[in-house]
């Protein structure tokens, strides 16, 4: 694999532009480190334990996803999107299906629209619940919060398994609808879960939000100005925690989100604590959406019968479709040359773009804060490196 031309390529460059002082300590946090959420690496320069410079190194989980997708048919990429943000595969499915539908001008039947909203909001619940567990793990409460978060996640994954046959790698959305209809009693199970979720959130909030150590560890840590966040392209809960009203479900509605009554919670300071709280508040709004969607769920087909699965050739053109994924703006940019394969397939991953400002958030803080800030960005490396 190593050829003569690749010899000069340094896969893990150490800091060159950072301060050059013997009293500083250069530490490579990752790629194998307990709290980098996968194989992410940060080259950190420390003065004592204070961060002087922090350079993220991406690419350890690069899988050539975009290039592979250009060599296979449109539908063949659908299972691959599951592997992007593997905590919330169904949102990825939707974003990709949305982009292809926009490209090919496909209509989605009513029932499938509702089903997609239900699945996306369940995915948001999974993501935000697991986030609360992960960030507590980063703060040193190994397992306790995480296992309770995963207990609830398991219940939702069981529902996903009933519906799609897979717990995580769902591969459920199709161009023009969804793969199959609901199994018997599924909707009733979801509404039971939605009813039980509120008390669980009450309990979790009571346990976490009032804890003095958590407050001390997260408040005033990692906040950035609104301008920096907007200019950096940050999206999702991280942006809304700073008080920027930007939720794609509202500003650029897709699917049938205009039909539902829900609010967008906004923070004020944008520190790690706000990021946690915003996610808790968003989960409650998701529950509201779920209740409405389950009550209105119509009968009918779940996939447009005219949508051709085999030999699918969208017309020549270009489309960019975005959804409000649990982590932020998840977009797919497709260029079609009229063949069965996309000419260009490009993903706008929220984790990756949210992570680009990590140095600005961490400078001058403790090494211990870096871990909490990284946790509060909420990344999944499958999506960061693709």
């Amino acid at each position: 694999m190593i050829s003569a031309s690749s010899k000069s390529f340094d896969a893990a460059p150490m800091i060159e532009s950072g301060p050059d002082d013997d009293s500083l300590l250069r530490v490579s946090l990752g790629p194998q480190h307990p709290s980098t959420h996968g194989v992410f690496r940060m080259n950190v320069v420390l003065d004592g334990e204070t961060v002087v410079s922090l350079k993220p190194v991406f690419g350890y989980l690069h899988r050539n996803h975009e290039k592979i997708a250009e060599g296979i048919t449109y539908l063949s990429s659908m299972p691959y999107t599951d592997r992007l943000d593997y905590i919330c595969p169904l949102s990825n499915n939707w974003a990709y299906a949305h982009a292809v539908e926009k490209l090919a001008g496909l209509e989605v039947p009513e029932r499938a629209q509702y089903l997609r909203v239900i699945l996306a909001e369940l995915t948001r619940l999974i993501n935000h619940t697991a986030f609360a567990g992960f960030i507590l793990g980063d703060m040193g409460a190994w397992g306790s919060a995480l296992m309770y978060a995963f207990r609830e996640r398991e219940l939702i994954l069981d529902l996903f398994e009933d519906l799609t046959g897979a717990r995580m790698m769902a591969n459920f959305m199709r161009f023009g609808g969804c793969r199959n209809d609901l199994p018997d009693g599924w909707a009733a199970q979801v509404s039971r879960l939605v009813d039980d979720y509120g008390p669980f959130l009450d309990e979790m909030e009571k346990l976490l939000v009032g804890n003095e150590i958590l407050l001390a560890r997260t408040q005033g840590i990692g906040s950035l100005s609104k301008e920096t966040l907007v200019n950096g392209g940050i999206s999702g809960p991280m942006l809304r925690a700073a008080g920027v009203n930007y939720d794609i479900r509202k500003v650029d509605p897709y699917g049938i989100y205009e039909r539902f009554d829900f609010r967008i919670p906004l923070g004020a300071t944008g520190d790690c604590y706000d990021r946690i709280m915003i996610r808790f508040l968003e989960m409650r709004e998701s529950l509201k959406i779920l209740q409405q969607a389950l009550a209105q769920l119509p009968e009918g087909p779940v996939i447009d019968p005219k949508a051709r699965i085999r030999n699918f050739k969208p017309p020549v053109g270009e489309s960019y479709a975005r959804i409000e994924g649990p982590k932020g703006e998840l977009g797919f940019h497709l260029i079609s040359d009229g063949t069965t394969k996309p000419y260009r397939y490009r993903i706008r991953p929220p984790s990756f773009i949210n992570l680009t400002l990590i140095e600005d958030m961490c400078l001058g803080l403790d090494l211990a804060d870096v871990v909490v800030i990284l946790g509060s960005v909420d990344i999944v490396l499958g999506e960061v490196d693709r």
Binding site: L46, Y148, G220, P265
Partner: protein, 409 residues
């Protein structure tokens, strides 16, 4: 201490109270009847006594490693180890075999000798400290007159070992861990020792069996006369408890290990049995510091209720040990970790002032002879600073309760 005392009657020897001393007595007897000189009898007996302590606490270490995992698992809504033997009882054995058979890796940049010495140095002081604790009325392995001083003197050695491990590994995460360990342990050693001062003043002795003897009896016939049931004792006991969590590197003060931040701190570059030795040292240290806390504040081996004289006293000691250690486990399963600056501020602004205040309070209590005057003076003297410091400290920790708005559109 003076060789074999032939006057020990068989009844005393076989009483349950004396069971933990059986190995020592038997060795002494055997050597005596073999015609060994007195000094050999004494040394043989002490070796047997030390062997008893080491055996008891190494078994305790093995059990605790299992109990900790089981307890944490239950707190975390899991089951915990249950594959090796019934209830996972063989898990410590399996872990031990695994640790022994693993490769022992020494980094090329490490100072190999210090790297080897550190895990040994962390186990030895813990065992030495365990040697002076009074476990029962008849069971004091080494009854030193200056037992408390000896305990603290060897206790500080673990800091040396932790720093040695961090520095000798020649790596960055261990170095950061060692720095954290030194600052943390030095800061928390102060309140630990200062809170013990009041006990020394009231009991007038540095001998640990003497301190336990001073806590005998019952107030009003049912409240044990332990130091923790006095105002100064409760205050000092709280300081001691918090400081001992930090001394034992337990969550929420486990910064030297800081698993999510600096991988495993000073233990990062250790593998195999050296790593196991660190764990052993940590758990033995936990036993020792809890045992000292029990001796100083919870009445040592004294029974908690009157009329239980027939129960061997060491059972009470170990029952208290189980309760104290369970509280450590519970805290570990519940709290996130604090940051280093918060840790330091807590030690210097809260714990050390309170530990200092308990000293005059203990003096007043001693000369007032307890009673109403003692309560009347010491309770406000300690309660007011506790409340003020707690409120002040909480204000710093939780600057604001946030309110969140919702977008209109």
């Amino acid at each position: 201490m003076s060789g074999f005392d032939a006057s020990h009657s068989a009844a005393v020897l076989w009483a349950p109270e004396c069971w933990p001393r059986l190995p020592q007595r038997l060795v002494e007897m055997l050597l005596h009847f073999c015609g060994a000189p007195d000094w050999l009898v004494t040394i043989g007996g002490l070796v047997a006594a030390a062997g008893t302590v080491v055996g008891v606490f190494l078994t305790g270490f093995a059990l605790l490693s299992l109990i900790e995992r089981k307890t944490l698992a239950r707190i975390q809504n899991r089951i915990g180890p249950n594959r090796a033997g019934w209830f996972g009882i063989l898990q410590p054995v399996a872990d031990g075999i695994k640790m022994l058979t693993k490769e022992d890796i020494v980094p090329t940049k490490a100072e190999w000798f210090l790297h080897l010495l550190a895990p040994i140095l962390i186990v030895v002081p813990s065992i030495l400290a365990l040697g002076v604790l009074p476990y029962g009325r008849e069971w004091v392995p080494v009854p030193l007159d200056l037992g408390l001083l000896f305990f603290f003197a060897v206790g500080t050695l673990t800091e040396l070992a932790v720093f040695m491990a961090g520095w000798a590994s020649g790596s960055k995460f261990p170095m950061l861990g060692a720095m954290r360990a030194i600052s943390q342990m030095v800061s928390y050693e102060l309140p630990l020792m200062l809170s013990a001062l009041g006990v020394i003043m009231v009991s007038g002795t540095l001998s640990l069996p003497g301190i336990v003897a001073q806590q005998s009896g019952f107030l009003l016939g049912f409240i044990p006369a332990w130091n923790v049931f006095t105002p100064w004792g409760l205050s000092a006991g709280l300081v001691f408890y918090i400081a001992s969590i930090a001394e034992a590197n337990r969550c929420p003060f486990d910064l030297p290990e800081g698993e999510s931040e600096i991988v495993a701190g000073h233990m990062t570059e250790y593998s195999g049995f050296k790593y196991a030795l660190f764990f052993m040292g940590e758990y033995l240290g936990l036993f020792a510091i809890s045992g000292l806390g029990i001796t100083l504040f919870l009445g040592g081996w004294q029974a908690p209720f009157p009329g239980l004289g027939s129960v061997p006293s060491w059972i009470w000691f170990f029952s208290k040990l189980v309760v104290v250690i369970f509280s450590f486990l519970w805290i570990r399963g519940t709290f996130p970790r604090v940051r280093i600056d918060q840790l330091m501020r807590f030690a210097w602004l809260c714990l050390i002032p309170m530990a200092l205040l308990t000293i005059p309070a203990a003096g007043i209590w001693h000369f007032a002879g307890g009673g109403l005057i003692g309560w009347a003076v010491t309770v406000p003297m300690l309660l007011v600073p506790w409340v003020v410091l707690t409120i002040h400290y909480n204000k710093r920790l939780a600057p604001a309760t946030r309110t969140y708005t919702f977008a209109d559109s």
